[in-house]
């Protein structure tokens, strides 16, 4: 499903690389936590999956396609396979909550009928059906985060990638969100979650990848927030 082969990524200005010779394999249907200190390279990992940036060395495969070999025209179709939750919530300021979620369905050509049926369901899932017609600036930080999650799952992506999905959420809401992610995973979606929430990682007992200064230090199938060991 997802495979990194000796991937190294360096940003021009930095002496040291953000990712160093990372190799890993994530199978279809897995649920994986990606942890590591601030600046360890987690967002870099995710940006490589999205082809927002390209690896300096090595290659990234998704569904056996070499992502860096994709032409520019094909990138949107790669991204449609994935649901993405960004670290800094990214909503279209000029669209309401409903429209923001609906937009993701529109671009892949879903009918108005389907959209009207599914968007409220997704918003209900993240507990925001009563905020449907609000605009992003009228929402609290956590509420915005949840809209992004609703948008990410609306198309039943085959991979769901979350960069700090619960960073701004209280523990209760965080657990709700994580159980939504678990539910999505149970239906067959591969889920990759970047998080700093030790409680959640330790409770969930899923596979945990730990990055340290760009190096994949721990790959622990038994699920412990690992890098302090």
């Amino acid at each position: 499903m997802i495979e990194f082969k000796n991937v190294t990524k360096g940003y021009d200005k930095n002496k040291s690389n953000a990712l160093k010779n990372v190799s890993l394999f994530i199978d279809k249907g897995e649920f994986v936590f990606l942890v590591g200190r601030s600046g360890a390279g987690k967002s870099t990992f995710i940006k490589l999956l999205l082809r927002e940036i390209e690896a300096t060395e090595g290659s990234v495969y998704i569904n056996n396609f070499n992502v860096s070999k994709l032409s520019k025209k094909e990138i949107p179709f790669l991204r449609r396979k994935m649901g993405i939750v960004f670290q800094d919530f990214r909503l279209l300021e000029n669209k309401s909550v409903y429209e923001n979620v609906a937009y993701a369905m529109e671009i892949i050509g879903k009918s108005e009928k389907q959209i009207q049926k599914r968007v409220p369901l997704a918003l209900d899932m993240v507990g925001l059906s009563h905020r449907m017609n609000h605009y992003p600036h009228e929402l609290s930080g956590g509420e915005q985060q949840r809209v992004v999650i609703a948008r990410a799952i609306i198309n039943n992506p085959s991979i769901l990638i979350c960069d700090e999905p619960t960073g701004n959420l209280d523990p209760e809401t965080s657990y709700e969100i994580i159980s939504i992610l678990e539910e999505i995973n149970r239906r067959g979606t591969t889920v990759v979650v970047v998080t700093h929430d030790r409680e959640i990682v330790d409770t969930m007992k899923k596979r945990v990848l730990t990055l340290e200064d760009g190096i994949l230090k721990v790959d622990d199938a038994t699920g412990r927030y690992g890098y302090e060991v």
Binding site: E52, E74, R79, F86, R90, N94, A104, I108
Partner: protein, 312 residues
């Protein structure tokens, strides 16, 4: 992935038009600062262009009018015969270069001259039809003032058959012809320059508009929208704004022009006897040009302006 991609692309294009129209309308509604800025830039640029277009059209009309009034005179020898006169007249009337020919007898010439002298008329009181020293002549209007010289050559070829000499305001005609060429060139240059400047202003505005929405475009790209899908509402918006600008600019110019015409009352205050271009014809040309131009600039400006920001 490739196949799935193509299938999706197809279905997304099917439902696109409706969404695009809706998104465009909403965008215009919500980004009203930027929409207003774009429309007003289009209006500003088009008004400037319009003023110049109208001036140009009118200058050309006036020059054409003055030109059409230019005459050439073919004087006959005092002893010309009727046969000679007719030969010459027929030759002149057959020529393509000549628009019309009028014969002016010696008597008519004396009378006209006397009138034109006004206060000095008594000087000629000694002359009458008996001792009339004025020659008879053909008054010729040429089709194109550039051909004056050719017509002169043609007339002089009848020197043996009664033509004495040919006269026209040589320097005056030459000055007018080159003045005409000069204004033609000048107005083309000015029009091109102004077009470029206004295209540029509009393009600039659209670019800033897109720049202000770069975050939005970035998000669309992350959600998996294709470039075409992202671009479409911008282009439609650009075109609509361009057309709106064109219509408003046209109305402003139209109202102002007719108002000024009303004030002037057709009196041009020009030291020459000439009339303006028909206002309705001018306006017809203008709205056609404006719509084409506004729409085109809006669309093309958007395509170029958004290009840079699609690279995410």
């Amino acid at each position: 992935m490739r196949q799935a991609g193509t299938a999706m692309k197809f279905s997304s294009i099917k439902t696109m038009p409706k969404n695009v129209v809706r998104d465009t309308m909403k965008s215009i509604e919500r980004n009203n600062l930027m929409s207003a800025a774009s429309v007003l830039s289009v209006i500003a640029a088009l008004i400037i262009l319009g003023i110049f277009l109208i001036l140009t059209i009118n200058v050309q009309e006036v020059t054409k009018d003055v030109e059409s009034k230019l005459e050439l005179k073919i004087f006959l020898q005092s002893d010309f015969t009727d046969t000679q006169k007719e030969t010459i007249e027929q030759a002149l009337e057959k020529s393509d270069l000549i628009e019309n020919v009028t014969f002016e007898s010696a008597e008519e010439a004396l009378e006209k001259f006397t009138v034109s002298l006004e206060d000095y008329a008594p000087l000629l009181s000694g002359y009458n039809s008996e001792n009339n020293p004025m020659p008879a002549s053909f008054v010729v209007r040429v089709t194109d003032p550039n051909d004056m010289e050719e017509v002169q050559t043609l007339a002089m070829s009848f020197e043996d058959q009664g033509v004495e000499y040919v006269r026209y305001g040589q320097e005056y005609v030459e000055a007018l012809v080159s003045f005409n060429k000069f204004t033609n060139t000048l107005s083309i240059v000015v029009l091109v320059v102004l077009s470029m400047i206004s295209i540029f202003i509009i393009y600039n505005t659209i670019k800033l508009t897109v720049f202000a929405r770069r975050r939005e475009i970035g998000i669309m790209k992350y959600v998996g929208a294709t470039n075409a899908y992202i671009r479409a509402p911008f282009i439609l918006e650009g075109t609509l704004l361009g057309l709106m600008g064109a219509i408003v600019a046209f109305l402003i110019i139209r109202i102002t022009y007719y108002y000024i015409l009303g004030l002037v009352g057709g009196n041009l205050f020009l030291p020459v006897d000439a009339s303006l271009a028909s206002p309705d014809a001018v306006m017809g040309q203008l709205i056609f040009f404006f719509l084409l131009y506004g729409g085109f600039i809006g669309a093309v400006g958007s395509v170029f302006a958004i290009r840079k920001f699609l690279d995410v």
